[in-house]
């Protein structure tokens, strides 16, 4: 098209030049020069336009080529994404902003076994989390053990629907179970060994194997205490393993917390006496209402709190425990005159395997599991466990358990 224009203008120029030559012969030079200048400028103007058109044409051609390349690339990308989407080892469903299934990969269809896209959307709709939050849940579905993630698709501020990812976690669960079972089996064997030591030592102390000298009795007594600490550690390991694998089940019955505390104080009598620690337990005159709780696990919480107080309080120190019914909860407090928790360690004290710096110095034995387990158990009972502590002065743990929990 531009070439055509060029020909026309080129022709025009040639025709003008010829006309001018004829004119030159007949008209005077001044007028001739004037026309010559006019024709030159007009021609120049058109030639410039032509060259601009040409430049634009080249530009457009480049743009088209680039677009074509981009188009090709996006086609490739689209194909790759489609391949990934189809062959992905996790089920993927994209839900549009209208709540309908926009696309679902074959694995998702297999897992959901839904007859139609509507049925699929209906099934998934309870998992559509509110805007901006990612939801993860484990479900068992059509013999699949699935971890379902619902991810909101948000562009700018606009909710564009949801991305649902269905991950088959059966293998993972199986491996986890094998691991847990072998740990639990080892823990059980360990417990049997430690129990046999406990029984033997107790029989030595009771004189079943003959009378012991004063020194023999003293050593055996200490060994017995050490052995009981090992038993306690084994129990904590057992609980921690179960927590890790979410295998923590609660069997709740009506529990008298005052009785639990008293039993634990009795349990630690030997240690209390040997460290000459003054233990006080304040309880109201009338008995407190019982609460629905897992007795064994609440016992282990109270045991851990007493064990810590005894471990980290120097000889001849004090431990003041109290229990009361305050409003709709039962509050248990245990305050010691021990080494306290350094301020820098306070935020980490409930962490798994965490031990405060000063704790390691005073008592090498300790797993850093007790408070981790205690917190988990209390929170699972809808209660709360907190503390106040000052280094070198002491620590007070506060445990609240709601009355109306079933």
């Amino acid at each position: 098209m531009f070439n055509f224009v060029k020909i026309i203008f080129g022709g025009l120029f040639t025709a003008s030049a010829i006309a001018f030559l004829i004119f030159l012969a007949s008209v005077n030079l001044g007028i001739t020069l004037f026309f010559l200048v006019v024709i030159f400028f007009i021609t120049n103007y058109f030639l410039k336009r032509i060259s601009r058109f040409k430049k634009q044409q080249i530009g457009l051609e480049h743009l088209l080529q680039a677009n074509e390349k981009k188009f090709k690339n996006s086609e490739i990308e689209k194909n790759i994404i489609a391949k990934v989407f189809t062959n992905f080892d996790q089920g993927v469903v994209v839900i549009g902003e209208n709540g309908k299934v926009f696309m679902a990969n074959p694995l998702a269809e297999k897992i959901l076994q839904a007859k139609s896209e509507n049925a699929m959307a209906d099934f998934l709709s309870p998992y559509f989390s509110s805007l901006g939050t990612i939801l993860k849940e484990e479900i068992i579905l059509n013999n699949f053990n699935i971890e379902l993630s619902a991810i909101p698709l948000v562009f700018g501020q606009k909710d564009m629907g949801k991305l649902i990812i269905l991950r088959d976690i059966a293998k993972e669960k199986l491996l986890e179970k094998v691991k847990t079972d072998s740990i639990l089996s080892a823990v059980h064997q360990l417990k049997t060994s430690v129990t046999s030591a406990k029984w033997s030592l107790k029989m030595f102390l009771s004189g079943d194997f003959g009378k012991l000298s004063k020194e023999q009795k003293e050593v055996t007594q200490r060994l017995y205490g050490r052995n009981d600490s090992s038993l306690f550690l084994i129990d904590n390991l057992f609980y921690a393993t179960k927590i890790d694998n979410k295998a923590y089940r609660y069997a709740k019955t009506l529990v008298d917390i005052t009785q639990v505390v008293q039993a634990e104080i009795n349990y630690f009598q030997d240690k209390i006496k040997s460290k000459k620690i003054k233990v006080q337990f304040k309880k109201p005159a009338e008995s407190l209402p019982k609460i629905m709780a897992d007795k064994e696990k609440i016992e282990s919480v109270i045991k851990n709190l007493f064990d810590n107080a005894l471990k980290y309080t120097p000889a001849e120190g004090t431990i003041n425990a109290s229990i009361a019914c305050e409003g709709k909860k039962i509050s248990f407090k245990i305050k010691d005159s021990g080494i306290g928790i350094p301020l820098a360690d306070q935020s980490k004290i409930f962490g798994k395997f965490f031990r405060a710096r000063n704790a390691n110095k005073i008592e090498a034995n300790g797993s850093g599991l007790g408070l981790f387990i205690a917190k988990k158990i209390i929170e699972d009972h809808n209660g709360s466990l907190s503390f106040q502590s000052e280094e070198n002065k002491g620590t007070e743990f506060l445990l609240d358990l709601p009355l109306n929990m079933v």
Binding site: H188, T195, K198, W199, S200, S206, D235, A251
Partner: protein, 122 residues
Amino acid sequence: MAKNILIIEDDEFLRSLINRKLSAEGYNMISAIDGEEGIKKVLAEKPDLVLLDLILPNEDGFEVLSKIKADPKVSQIPIIILSNLSQKEDIDKGMKLGAADYIIKAQFTPEEIVEKVKNILK
């Protein structure tokens, strides 16, 4: 006449400690090292009391307990479970199956076990 106590326990050391403690109290002790042998000895010896561990080779303690309780010839024999399984589910299961008592090994001393036995055989 001395009363007979059967202990079904696979751990030789634990078994010998309990045997020693109860023999000293004047009981006649019989031992079985797994569930299968335990059931055989319950039927053959008809002991006055059974101390039963739960985790056992061949047949576990729960199976042994159910079988004994299902057999009218021996169902009256009191059975004390002696185990380190301390989960409430296990305790409930054992008591429901008809155990006379449930002792968590690690939480009891041999003396306390003797007390429990004496109480039941009174």
